[in-house]
């Protein structure tokens, strides 16, 4: 799952290294437009619908937080 998330992030913002242990939002690697794009992409890729109330910066600030959000939406396998 981690690799797939990294690939998705890289497609949105190719110039950044999302394997680094930093806060993607605070560092400016993802802006509000990117977050909406990411929500739409994750919804499609994992056949889920991320709750509107979960569309907050904290949930997209690292690979781990995105993975936790996916798990909350029932994505548990390592696809």
């Amino acid at each position: 799952m981690k690799d797939k998330i990294t690939t998705i992030l890289k497609e949105i913002r190719p110039e950044f290294d999302f394997t680094e242990n930093v806060n993607f939002i605070d560092e400016g690697m993802l802006d509000s437009f990117d977050v909406v794009t990411l929500v739409t992409t994750l919804d499609k890729e994992y056949h889920i619908s991320i709750d509107g109330l979960d569309i907050i910066p904290d949930n997209f600030s690292s690979i781990d937080s995105i993975r936790a959000l996916l798990k909350k939406n029932g994505v548990h396998n390592e696809s």
């Binding site: 110039e15 950044f16 605070d26 560092e27 400016g28 690697m29 802006d31 509000s32 437009f33 977050v35 909406v36 739409t40 919804d43 499609k44 619908s49 991320i50 709750d51 509107g52 109330l53 569309i55 907050i56």
Partner: protein, 278 residues
């Protein structure tokens, strides 16, 4: 179904709106991308309202003599239906809608608004760079703005910028940029010959506004400001900004500095705004 126009009191209400829309088809379209500082001010001033029309929520911001229109909709067909209803109810209002996106989806949403009676006003493209030119010496006339200059900068915005296309900043935003040392000015006595405003995080610098006063043209003030901007941001990975697509001279200049156009575009559409106001 249509609810009454309701003043937004908290950002949570927008997230609830997104969820309500997603409940229809599990997806959503929007041109509202939250900027906590700016939108927080809109909410604090009671200037952002929300209305539900069929499967679309519209966010309406009361700007300077017109309304900025944002949508959160479950799809293109639903957006078309909702816009028709909204237009019939508030047909006298002047609206400006910014559509930000890329590719076919952006073109499709644009067609929806054009078919509803909106007119194309302008379009912008986002440019970015990860390579910066060699830095020149610092010019002593370029410095960070002082809070005492905020009203002067605000008046320059009102006099020289296009309020429909360029999303003029609020006084609170100008003060915030000054406090954060993200506004550079070229001062000549008591006059401001130009200014440059930017946002900065550790990896990205976002050039927001770059202005040279007409009385100070041909003095290379623009170059001096951008040089200082590069110096201030020499540690970032990426610099980006929006430019009006028809401004070929500016684009040529940006390319000279190593910037390239991204796929991301901002199409500005207006409704009920006469040609002589443009």
């Amino acid at each position: 179904m249509m609810t009454d126009l309701k003043v937004v009191k908290h950002m949570d209400e927008i997230q609830v709106a997104i969820q309500s829309v997603k409940n229809y088809h599990k997806s959503f379209l929007t041109n509202f991308f939250p900027e906590p500082f700016k939108h927080g001010i809109w909410i604090k001033k009671n200037e952002l309202a929300l209305i539900m029309v069929s499967e679309t929520y519209f966010l309406i911001y009361s700007d300077d003599g017109f309304k900025r229109l944002f949508y959160i909709s479950s799809g293109l067909t639903e957006l078309t239906e909702s816009l028709d209803i909204l237009k019939n109810k508030y047909h006298d209002e002047k609206y400006v809608a910014d559509l930000v996106g890329k590719g076919d989806l952006l073109n499709d949403v644009c067609s929806v608004l054009l078919n509803t009676g909106f007119n194309l006003y302008s379009s912008l493209t986002r440019m970015s760079s990860t390579n910066y030119p060699a830095l020149k010496a610092i010019d002593p006339c370029v410095d960070f703005a002082d809070i005492s200059e905020v009203l002067l900068v605000d008046s320059l915005f009102k006099q020289y910028f296009d309020k429909y296309t360029e999303q003029l900043p609020l006084i609170e935003e100008l003060k915030n940029w000054i406090e954060k040392k993200q506004m550079l000015v070229y001062s000549s006595g008591k006059e401001i010959g130009g200014f440059l405003i930017f946002d900065k995080t550790s990896s990205t610098a976002y050039l927001r506004y770059w202005f040279v006063h007409p009385n100070f043209r041909d003095l290379k003030i623009g170059s001096k400001l951008i040089n200082q901007f590069f110096i201030e941001n020499k540690d970032v990975i990426r610099i980006l900004f929006w430019v009006i697509e028809t401004n070929e001279n500016a684009i040529k200049r940006y390319r000279h500095y190593g910037f390239h156009a991204e796929e991301l575009r901002d199409i500005v559409l207006t409704y009920n705004i006469p040609l002589n106001e443009r």
